[in-house]
Symmetry: C2
Subunit: 304 residues, 2 copies
């Protein structure tokens, strides 16, 4: 298989690939939209996949929106999608805490967005509040900052109000051995048009470095995100296709979970990146080589 990986997908093989799967997972940014614009043809691809009886899901590491917010954005862009089909890290983080951790009656110290707080509360998990937390007092007082005795987990996602005091508060909780540590994702920054970028997952790394502990993450490439989809909808890995624009998150998730993988070139990664992984001779990097690639998911249209 490895000799034929990373091949351009076109013609008859497109139909054969689609016939071989019942479900298709799409990453969002760089795959079905870019910023605030739908990728041309993407809406039609989703519609036609559904008409052909495929289950379609959306998996995104961006923790700044609830499932409902994603469904609304997608609707505004012309996609016919329900919120049950969307799996963002805000939702998956809440699902992880509810199903894996035993937090009954306990609380979460949250470094994250209002969307994350909303998804936590939707599954009955209390959190300490979001928004600004500016430094006060003197350095000697910071290690003695008041802590909520009900907190049993620190959760770190994207937080535009990230601050020294939040970092410090997270550290103080994490110095307790019984405090769980969960992060949404490790993508270090969000690439934007024109080579621009803003910081994202590096917040988690700052907390990890301070605490000298490693968080459990729920986002891609961790298999938990696929487990969420699979457990809700009975998806069989070998009958599922993962479509994404990032080798280190989307394609690696697919490889980690035994899915077929398709790289689309409308986002971050290039064919040269994928080929470099394939030729590296490094076993760890083979999971970042997609089975196939297309210029855009619109290339699937002729087979639909």
């Amino acid at each position: 298989m490895s000799g034929t990986k990373c091949t351009r997908l076109s013609g008859a093989p497109v139909r054969r690939l689609l016939d071989s799967v019942d479900s298709v997972l799409f990453d969002c940014d760089g795959v079905i939209w870019r910023g605030d614009q739908a990728v041309p043809g993407a809406c039609r691809v989703i519609d036609l996949l559904k008409e052909h009886g495929k289950k379609v899901f959306f998996v995104t590491n961006n923790s700044s929106k609830t499932r409902r917010m994603y469904a609304e954005k997608m609707s505004a862009l012309g996609f016919g999608v329900s919120e049950e089909e969307v799996f963002g890290t805000a939702y998956c983080c809440a699902a992880y805490l509810r199903t894996v951790c035993e937090l009954e009656g306990k609380k979460v110290y949250l470094i994250g967005s209002a969307a994350m707080a909303h998804e936590l509360e939707a599954v009955g998990i209390r959190q300490t509040g979001v928004g600004p937390d500016h430094v006060s007092g003197k350095q000697g007082d910071w290690a003695a900052v008041p802590l909520d005795p009900d907190v049993r987990a620190v959760v770190v996602g994207f937080d535009e109000h990230f601050s020294y005091m939040k970092l410090n508060r997270a550290l103080q909780y994490l110095l307790r051995e019984d405090c769980l540590f969960v992060g949404t994702n490790r993508d270090t920054r969000l690439p934007l048009e024109g080579g621009k970028a803003v910081p994202t997952g590096c917040l988690l790394q700052a907390v990890e470095t301070a605490a000298q502990r490693r968080a459990q993450t729920v986002g891609k490439p961790n298999h938990f995100m696929f487990d969420c989809v699979a457990s809700h909808f009975g998806v069989q890995p070998e009958r599922c296709l993962m479509v994404g624009d990032r080798l280190d998150t989307d394609i690696l998730l697919g490889s980690n979970c035994g899915l077929k993988t398709l790289l689309t070139l409308t986002g971050v990664s290039t064919v040269a990146d994928a080929e470099a992984h394939r030729e590296s001779g490094c076993a760890e990097r083979q999971g970042m080589v997609p089975d196939y690639y297309v210029d855009s998911i619109a290339d699937l249209l002729p087979a639909l």
Copy 2:
């Protein structure tokens, strides 16, 4: 030599060691003071070393004070020290930028303290200002945040006003290839009494992760801090003793610069830590094995 490293220093060998050096470098926190209290006997050790004609210097990675602020703190604790004898990372960072980087007429984007701003300005380097920088606007605007066209370096030290917006601004500067990147130190957190700690150097790591660039650091264990002392005062490495409580900063600095090294057990590291490095068989870790150790620098008193 390695077979006899990490030996307890007492009796006649103390005098022999002191006779073999002209200069002694002390780390501060955990060595000559702990928090706001002088280590018992430390003032007398410093005084007697000077009376015996030794040059004495103080090297600290803590970037929150200027040389003058350190001299004032030391004076208040009973040490007879002048500010020229103190080398903190705030000062050394300014010295590095002035002597190594070509910043004439240019500016620094500073994530750091008022003390760092002061030391930069004292050597004629302008900076963009310190203090709070809270997030504003929407995510789409952050990558287009206004940048100062004169900035040619990002400098990261300890900053209690560290925020998402500062991280973002640093990233935007560092996306320019001609922007230098300098950090004070990499110690991830500042240990306090009773197992407590507050975050410190992890701020640098957050910026590095976002920018996907590695900063040049001036603090221990980087040799620049010793170079600063040596170039000002003509110190010969082989006639110099480094005294510290941390293996990964103080002792490693000494090893990196060819100094004799003495671990004192009034701070962070233990003899067991040092022995673990010695027995590891790992070449990289041998630099963290001190030549000698003492319970406290007061153990030097009988030889003085």
